[in-house]
Amino acid sequence: MPILDYITVSFLVIPLIILVLNNLFSKQFVERINFKLVGVVAILQMALAVAGFSLLSAAHWEDYRFSLLWDWTMEEAGYFAVNSLSLVFLFCIGFVLLVAVLVAKATVEQRKTAFVNLVLTLLLGMNGMVMVRDLFSLYVFLEIVGISSFVLVALFQLETGLEGAFKYLVMSSLATVFILTGLAFVFMQTGSLQYAQAWADWLSVQGTAQLYTYLAFILLISGFALKTGVVPFHSWLPDAHQSANTAVSILLSGIVIKVAGIYGFIVLTKLFPGFPPVALALRILGLLSIVVGALFALRQTHFKRLVAYSSVSQMGYILLGLSSGTTLGFLGAMVHIFNHATFKSTLFTNAAALSAQAGTLELGELGGLEKKMPVTGFSSITAFLSTAGIPPLAGFWSKLLIIMALWKSEAEGFAAVALLASILTAAYFLRLQKKVFFGQLPEKFGAVTEIGGSVKFAELMLSAVNIAVGVGFPLILLFFEGRGLL
């Protein structure tokens, strides 16, 4: 089907073309239009992902293979491929990118051209990561994502940003060492790193689980855990996410940790099917992240740092969903990826609004802003309720699916702790709401007004998505049922 060919290739070609255009003309001209261009790219990516998804499911194809300029039908040639999983990820990438650009219009004042270049490189890396079909290309695109994120965090040359970027870089390069050593072991035993062949060959050597199976498994899982920032590998995450520009934080927390980390875990679960330590490791990592992330979030005094620890905690739910090994758990994890992108972007957008209007993000200095900033307050409350899993908002449904899947796969203890940890989530977000939006309004904030323009639009859009997904979720469940997934 040639139209699907155009759609899939454009995920890689459009960022490249815009990247060239962004550097082709004079800076004065480019800086007037480049944010709009990136916004258009984001909307286009969402539209193309939806179109690709409907074409793929109409044709009942498992995946659609393509390449850019070479003949992929040759033996052992590398190729790209899209399936429904990558299209869901591509949609989420477009969605978060749109929000990040809307916020960047307000927060990025200098170095606009460099910012747009890096965002487009990041987009290219993430799009490539979810479409490649061999482990080595996965590593290459992972490094593209990593390098553009380091520079984005350090871009504005603030002391905090440089510190966060350096910590991120060191931990990330350790993750690379782990992942590559694990890849070396898989490559040693199978002779190929293409998913299809490596998985089949690896299965046969895995039947007799030996020391190298465990070694490869431990190395790969630690590498991707470092990239995701789950406990106990989380030390870089709050630093990088707090110190970055808020638009960059949206990208990092909203999508980069999921594409660079969680997608790696998804590949891993396919590389080690039925290997008992996988489910155990994912459950332990997930549970630790949920509880420890939430406990750390309880004692934070900086808005963005608290939200970053909340990301650590929510990644734990996604890992628990993946650990169940069933379709139900997988669907729960996928829906939670989208929902987390929505509510985490909302909270970081609120951070952008607060730091623009009130001038600080320290929880101790803020207070009573609900009357002054009604839209920010409202969107923050919907995001908080959704994160804590209060029906009928979006977060409730994905957590319900994950906990049901855990319960069905006979991990009742883990399901119970995941359920109870929602109380911790509610606790730290209630503290946030109380400190920022309720209580006494300090004297100096008497003249604070609601933020306007693109940030307000982003807040309204995200709240609408959050509520719409929550209220309309039975329709999504019907869609899953129609495809025979439930």
Binding site: L174, V177, F187, Q189, P238
Partner: protein, 114 residues
Amino acid sequence: MWFCLGSVINLPGFGWEIMMLIIGFLLIIAGAYCIIRTYHLLKIIIGMEIAMKAVTLLIILAGLVNGNLALAQSFVITIIVIEVVVAVVAAGIAVSLYKKYGSMEIRNLRKLKG
């Protein structure tokens, strides 16, 4: 003990492959030790690079063991290119930090805590 190591890469007995594996792991440990125990930004970058070069050694070893050396070599060249980019970014951040603080001391980085 040699038997145990041989089972790691599925090779019988003791040979130079095992030797290369041991050297690779020792280099990774040296790099990690360098990252943990030094307090100088550039030394940390050097530690990162040592660990990464050790990984290229392991990938070449993997190519030798499974007989697919050409593929392993192309992997290693790609890894070296990517590593240079990471090292340049790291050195750039280190130089910017040096301009801010006037020293390469890692213990200056205390702004982000909690």
